[in-house]
């Protein structure tokens, strides 16, 4: 009864906090809709190359230009002076020009992602052009398809992002809704006011934890629903497995919040500590992109942090319809972090 009152009051007051509601429920949806739409087709934006117009185009030039178009590169033909001006303004990623005996391809060091891919295509076009000029058979190409690694196919970026956002929500709930809130309660003396009443402290804390749990469940439900309606993303695995993983993650990151709150005296101090934890977790754990291109030592380190193995298991179930069997080690890492944080929280948590 006491617990119910405490829980109901948490919800009532939470409902009046528009800012918290926005960040909790609306912001993840906006992120999903925004990024999901921008990268809708999964493919990279069309690559383009600036082609400096030759004084007197040769046969060779014509063959190369044709091959570029055949490879679906966007070719912008510009007079020399105009092309140089554009290059100087930094708008050009790759610029191709005919020199006396061959060609020169300049790549913009600031736009390497685009320029690098373009360079590959240009060279491929050159091979094609040479073959055509020589009357030799055109070099064959290996067909490419884009798929997810699991057994079912779900190719768009939104379906990669959605589990990442679910995980990120758990982390920010633990660090901010639990950790930050408790530091400010302690700092402002709300705990002290409670301490002079006969209310058992566990009732207060459990009421808080139950409230955060229901928030998490609603948050996840909203994201799943929006993902389904806007992008047709469906849970490919079993909901039971999903629930197991989410519960484990919630416990782990909530314990994190309680543990960290024991290390800060003030809200400002806590903000510094929590950001120290939050940003590396967010940026390095594969919320928004995979870390396959990162150095091996970094990948190994991140795999031992709690969020990365959590997301790996979540995606395996959610996107690929996998089971938990293959992710025992990863989930054990999450559980170990949760237990360690809980032990630390029990030792460090303070009321005053």
């Amino acid at each position: 009864m006491m617990l119910w009152r405490q829980f109901a009051m948490e919800w009532r007051l939470y409902g009046r906090d528009r800012v918290a509601m926005f960040w909790t429920f609306a912001f993840p949806v906006i992120l999903l809709l925004g990024f999901g739409t921008i990268f809708r087709d999964g493919g990279s934006p069309k690559l383009s190359v600036v082609r400096v117009q030759a004084q007197a185009p040769s046969l060779r030039d014509a063959a190369l230009d044709q091959a570029l178009v055949d490879l679906q590169l966007k070719v912008q033909a510009l007079p020399k002076a105009e092309a140089e001006a554009r290059w100087a303004r930094g708008e050009t990623a790759a610029q191709l020009e005919t020199t006396g005996e061959g060609y020169r391809l300049r790549l913009n060091s600031y736009l390497m992602a685009q320029a690098g891919a373009t360079a590959g295509l240009v060279n491929q076009a050159w091979l094609m052009a040479q073959a055509r000029l020589n009357g030799a058979p055109e070099p064959g190409r290996i067909p490419v398809t884009v798929e997810s690694p699991g057994r079912k196919h779900s190719a768009n970026y939104a379906s990669f992002l959605l589990p990442g956002l679910l995980g990120l929500n758990l982390v920010s709930m633990g660090l901010f809704s639990v950790g930050m809130v408790n530091v400010s309660y302690r700092e402002k003396g709300k705990f002290r006011r409670l301490a002079v009443t006969p209310l058992p402290k566990w009732v207060f804390l459990l009421g808080q934890v139950l409230h955060r749990l229901t928030v998490t469940v609603i948050q996840a439900a909203i994201l799943l629903l929006v993902g389904r309606l806007a992008f047709g993303i469906e849970n490919q695995g079993s909901f039971l497995n999903l629930l197991v993983i989410m519960t484990l993650g919630t416990g782990c990151f909530m314990a994190f919040g309680f543990a960290l709150s024991g290390f800060a005296e003030t809200s400002e101090g806590y903000a510094a500590i929590s950001n120290l934890v939050f940003f590396p977790l967010m940026l390095l754990s594969g919320v928004y992109f995979t870390l396959d291109a990162a150095p091996a030592w970094l990948q190994h380190t991140v795999a031992l942090m709690p969020l990365a193995p959590f997301l790996r298991a979540l995606r395996a179930v959610f996107n690929d319809g996998g089971t938990l069997a293959g992710h025992g080690a990863g989930l054990a890492i999450v559980a170990a972090w949760g237990l360690a944080a809980f032990a630390l929280a029990v030792r460090r948590f303070r009321w005053a």
Binding site: M2, R5, M9, L13, R16, R192, R193, V196, T197, P198
Partner: protein, 327 residues
């Protein structure tokens, strides 16, 4: 369970329960000591507060009043000393003590968007015995603001709500820590009324303050604290009477008061300079006045006003410590 004021709640100290209870004081403290890193906050405090009494801890900021109160309330642990609250000890009856005392902390922090009605309902739900929310809102005159968010209340209204929250369980013993600090004079008066009503209802009230007028106006008995020690205990009247200088003559000047050495020598009595005033404590102002005027004439002291007032607790503190309460 809502206990009405007029029935058994009216005088908890006199409840018809085993006779022992009637004779136990509301609060008894022996040899209380507390050291914080580098600061001796409470240095051997003994206190005894009778049932139904309004008892004040008076002293300047940093005297150890709040620490003493927080130890009594169970928020801070003492290094040594014994505390009995309503005949109970924290070690054996923590929960029962919490159910029977009411506490207003120096600053009461609530959620910004909770209303007084909700706060009283919520905190009331923590207690086995409670007073009705409307009755409490009436008591502290917050009916109009009952459903306004806490953050929209004025300082005085927030303080009155904190007071109502301290009464939510119909407590026998109420602790108020600096209840009127930071309030305007009108808000202070209205808070004093609430405290007087608590006494009228038979509750024991222990409050801290650094306002001597508040201590004089509200308290049946006082302990004056300084540097973690109780330096005097008694009724306001007896503390002042003990000074043996019931009156103070004040000389006011247009600007800063001049140096008093020559005047003091001529008068043959000590003169205390405080800002733009001279103060001369005296048991007999009628006899002092002619001498004073003569000395002023002789040493050409350019005073503007003479004022005779009776001694206050401020003078008691000054006399005992050599410092002013306000410093």
């Amino acid at each position: 369970m809502t206990a009405s004021l007029s029935s058994q709640g009216s005088n908890p100290g006199m409840m018809v329960v085993p006779g022992v209870i009637m004779s136990t004081p509301a609060l008894r403290i022996r040899g209380l000591r507390k050291t914080f890193p580098k600061v001796l906050a409470v240095d051997g405090v003994d206190l005894e507060v009778a049932r139904g009494e309004v008892f004040g801890l008076l002293g300047p900021n940093g005297a150890g009043k709040t620490t003493t109160l927080e130890i009594i309330e169970g928020l801070t642990s003492a290094d040594s000393g014994d505390i009995e609250i309503l005949g109970l000890t924290w070690a054996d009856h923590g929960r029962e003590i919490r159910s029977r005392i009411g506490v207003q902390l120096q600053s009461t922090s609530l959620f910004n968007k909770i209303t007084p009605r909700e706060a009283l309902d919520l905190y009331g739900s923590y207690y086995p015995r409670r007073r009705g929310t409307d009755e409490l809102l009436d008591l502290v005159q917050l009916q109009e603001k009952a459903d306004a968010y806490h953050i929209t209340l004025s300082g005085g209204q927030q303080q009155r709500l904190a007071l109502a929250m301290a009464l939510v369980n119909d407590p026998e013993l109420v602790f108020l820590d600096e209840p009127t600090t930071g309030l305007d004079p009108q808000a202070r008066r209205s808070l004093w009324d609430v405290v007087r009503r608590m006494k009228g209802e038979g509750r024991t009230v222990v409050l801290t303050t650094h306002y001597m007028d508040e201590a004089e106006a509200l308290c049946d008995r006082l302990a004056i604290m300084d540097h973690g020690k109780v330096i005097a205990t008694g009724t306001p009247a007896s503390l002042i009477a003990d000074l043996a200088i019931p009156s103070v003559v004040e000389l006011a000047f247009a600007g800063e008061a001049p140096d008093a050495v020559a005047f003091s020598a001529r008068l043959g009595q000590g003169v205390e300079r405080r800002g733009d005033l001279w103060e001369i404590p005296t048991p007999d102002p009628k006899a002092l006045l002619p001498l004073l005027l003569e000395a002023a004439e002789a040493t050409a002291v350019p005073f503007q006003q003479v004022h005779i007032r009776r001694a206050t607790l401020e003078d008691v503190f000054l006399h005992r410590t050599g410092r002013s309460l306000r410093e």
